[in-house]
């Protein structure tokens, strides 16, 4: 991609956008391949290679425009290709399908039925992306752009009007105006706590101390969440533009993007985008011919969940261990190197240019009473249509899990949904009509967090989930507060006991007492929410804990100490497949005769379940299945 010459003024930017738009041939058929994490992992790069090669070989360059973009969202169909016009969405595309797509769809305008989304209930095909329920029920503002731009191309971003919001800001706004716009929009931080962004900016603006800093928190540590990854990988310029506007509003000259080292592609994309923008003169001294000075630096985290907490993130930026410190003073007063610093999350920054372009009233008209705009969620776990979804704040769990997510697959029952990452909680199926906004979730005992939604079905053990998160938090606790360091450890030990059949009812009382102590006495967000997984599961799934304690039974069949594997003799045809793969040699039986599992030798690895074609191996816990 050719580097853009320095853009010297606002008029220059407008002219450049216009000429780029003009250059784009509207008659080309646009083939767009998603190369987000889900598609990449399922072979999108090979598909891209095949498209490039065959478009070249067939001289189709003057008929089609082929583009690799960031995440479209529909990971369950990965790798995803769209063809516009007419707007077909093809899923599960293999390199071998490329020939057919070019020959049939591009040259002859035919639909390839086999690659199209099929309704799992009716089997009906849905050719157009816009008609697929997964997309139809969303309200995509930020995510929609992922599909329009090649994230490695500044030109592409300019073609969709990129950096217009910055130009408008520099041309006709004052910092006070900008803060007022963000306040009126009602934008709340998307990182979890939901603090009003405009208020934070205002406080930073009012600080007399100089210099000021702004930070993009891209340390997306919640397991099960990948929204920020996909925004940075798919549309890094939107985030940079948002940060430029924020810097103008508070008077910062230096900004940082703090990205997880575990996201190498995100690091690469944002780094390249920053370099491109620097050489185009949209970062640095005298941006767009004004006296605005701002620069950005990309900094990598090194794998510490607690660094998502703002004071820990600052410690890490300064080159120290990521330990939080007591607040106040808040970072807006004393942050990076003791100077006023605002930290907002990736999605928050990405929202800012849209608010400037469309007005605060437009933004405030979307969403619920208490929470404005849209929110991106990563919808994962035991749900049919896994992927990234963007919905107005205040959407119900039902609409997300069923209308968009298509419900729970394999005929299983929806059991619970986990929100807010490790510091969040689990909500039961009864609360399916709960609206998802900051207040409603808090009231229900969980948090919005950064937007992970993990769907659980009847084969998910809620005690195991609580154990999983508590162990995670025990590991990630920085150790500064005793309540968090020791409290998470003790809670995990109590959960060990329950999962392994040594629990008593007294354990539950102790867990509750300890949980409240941990949440009350810890200093940072990690510790203050560390007991949420335990407390929310105790609140909504107490009977499951009791089954583990009183019946020595894990109803979901997960907790190893409480389950055993058995073969149903009537279903077993003696194919010996399980006996062959059993690593413990615990399965006995003659060929063509039902096999049995020696419970003493069985290590409960579950391989026999995976390999059995007859579904004859079952998990038994306590007295029943």
């Amino acid at each position: 991609m050719s580097r853009i010459q320095p853009i010297l003024s606002i008029q220059h930017l407008k002219d450049l956008q216009a000429s780029l738009k003009e250059k784009r041939d509207p008659d080309l058929i646009r083939i767009t391949l998603c190369t987000g994490p889900g598609c990449e992992a399922t072979g999108a790069n090979d598909v891209a290679e095949a498209f490039r090669k065959q478009i070249g070989e067939r001289n189709l360059g003057d008929q089609v425009e082929f583009k690799c973009t960031g995440c479209h969202g529909f990971c369950a169909m990965a790798p995803v290709v769209t063809v516009e016009p007419p707007g077909y969405c093809y899923g599960g595309v293999r390199p071998g399908d490329v020939k057919e797509i070019l020959e049939r769809t591009i040259l002859r305008g035919e639909l390839i039925e086999e690659l199209v989304y099929k309704d799992p209930e009716t089997g009906e095909t849905v050719p157009l992306e816009a008609d697929i329920p997964f997309y139809k029920h969303q309200h995509r503002i930020i995510l929609a752009e992922n599909r329009q731009v090649d994230p490695t191309s500044l030109e592409d971003f300019l073609t969709i009007g990129g950096y217009n919001a910055l130009a408008h800001t520099l041309q006709s706004q004052t910092p006070e105006n900008m803060i007022d716009i963000i306040k009126r929009s009602g934008l709340q931080g998307r990182g979890g706590a939901g603090f009003p962004a405009g208020v934070k900016w205002e406080r930073a603006h009012e600080q007399p101390d100089e210099p000021k800093y702004i930070v993009c928190n891209a340390d997306e540590g919640d397991p099960g969440a990948f929204m920020d990854r996909c925004l940075l990988e798919g549309n890094p310029h939107r985030v940079i533009e948002g940060m430029c506007i924020g810097a103008f509003a508070i008077g910062a000259r230096q900004g940082f993007v703090y990205v997880r080292h575990e996201y190498p592609i995100a690091v690469k994309r944002i780094t390249q985008a920053v370099e491109d923008v620097q050489s185009a003169g949209l970062l640095g001294d005298g941006i767009l011919g004004t006296d605005f000075v701002f620069d950005l630096k990309v900094v990598q985290g090194a794998g510490a969940f607690v660094c998502g907490e703002e004071s820990a993130l600052i410690a890490s930026l300064e080159g120290h261990r990521g330990e939080p410190r007591q607040r106040p003073p808040y970072p807006v007063e004393s942050g990076y190197k003791g100077k006023p610093t605002i930290i907002n999350n990736v999605e928050t920054w990405a929202n800012v240019p849209h608010i400037i372009n469309n007005g605060p009233e437009w933004f405030a008209s979307i969403g619920s009473e208490g929470s404005k705009g849209t929110k991106i969620f990563s919808l994962v776990g035991k749900v049919r249509n896994t992927g990234l979804v963007e919905v107005p704040m205040g959407a119900t769990i039902r609409s997300i899990v069923y209308d968009i997510g298509g419900g729970v697959p394999n005929g299983k029952e929806f059991r619970a949904i986990q929100t807010g990452g490790p510091a969040g909680g689990c909500l039961p199926a009864e609360l399916i009509d709960l609206t998802i906004d900051f207040e409603a979730l808090q009231h229900a005992g969980t948090i919005m967090g950064s937007g992970g939604l993990i769907v659980m079905d009847e084969s998910t053990c809620m005690v195991d989930v609580a154990h999983y998160f508590t162990r995670f938090l025990e590991f990630e606790s920085c150790g500064k507060c005793y309540s968090c360091r020791k409290g998470t450890q003790r809670m995990r030990e109590l959960l060990d006991d329950i999962c392994e059949g040594r629990g008593t009812m007294g354990h539950l009382d102790l867990l509750e007492e300890l949980g409240h102590a941990v949440n009350t006495a810890s200093m940072c967000g990690l510790g203050q929410n560390a007991a949420n997984p335990v407390l929310s599961t105790l609140r909504y799934f107490r009977e499951e804990y009791e089954a583990h304690i009183k019946g020595l039974r894990c109803p979901a069949g997960v907790c190893k100490a409480l389950i055993r594997y058995e073969i149903i003799a009537e279903l077993c045809d003696g194919c010996t497949a399980c006996a062959k793969v059993c690593p413990a040699e615990a399965i006995e039986g003659e060929k063509d005769h039902p096999h049995t599992i020696n419970a003493d030798a069985c290590i409960k690895c579950g391989t026999c379940v995976d390999v059995c074609a007859k579904d004859a191996v079952i998990v038994v816990s306590g007295g029943g299945q």
């Binding site: 992992a41 399922t42 540590g221 099960g224 575990e262 986990q418 590991f475």
Partner: protein
């Protein structure tokens, strides 16, 4: 923070540690202009260059930056991305994020541990394979996920573990022939 992968027991003996190339470390320090606030980036770059953080490199960095060695060890053991022992030639990284967990990542980790006879965080004695877990790599929609070196493998099961291992073993046999 609980002991990270970096500091957990390893099956690798001290004596198998390769010589440390300090010139690479010097280049990295130079790039970062010996700036103390860049310490984490320096350590990440050194690890990229050398595969891990060998003790002589840490001592050298401590001297060059005038940062106490204890603080450098503090950082190297606080952040999970750092490792103080040599990695295997091939690395299996099993994602144990929530989405992968509820879909059976634990079984996948255990299968690797059983087949490789090492625990997560360790390297096989011949330095061929390393096994690690990661909290989440953001490919949640296709979990459980295993990353072999840099290649993603989605929807893993215990059944697929020996297939991945066999593939690498075959490649190794071909190389040695």
């Amino acid at each position: 923070m609980a002991p990270s992968n970096a500091s957990s027991a390893s099956t690798v003996e001290e004596s198998t540690m390769p010589e440390t190339d300090l010139s690479a470390v010097n280049d990295i320090l130079e790039q970062h202009e010996y700036d103390q606030t860049e310490l984490i980036a320096i350590l990440l770059n050194v690890q990229d260059a050398l595969g891990f953080l060998p003790p002589p490199a840490l001592t050298h960095i401590s001297e060059q930056l005038s940062v106490p060695l204890t603080e450098i060890y503090g950082i190297a053991t606080f952040y999970t991305q750092f490792r103080l022992t040599p990695p295997g030639r091939h690395k299996f990284t099993v994602c144990t994020g929530t989405a992968c967990h509820v879909r059976g990542a634990v079984q996948v980790v255990e299968e690797f541990e059983r087949r490789l006879c090492i625990c997560s965080g360790e390297t096989t004695p011949d330095l061929e394979y390393g096994l690690e877990t990661v909290n989440c790599v953001g490919a949640c929609a296709i979990g459980p996920l295993v990353i072999v070196d840099d290649e993603y493998h989605g929807e893993m099961t215990t059944m697929k573990v020996p297939i991945l291992l066999r593939r690498l073993e075959r490649a190794r046999a071909e190389v040695s022939e």
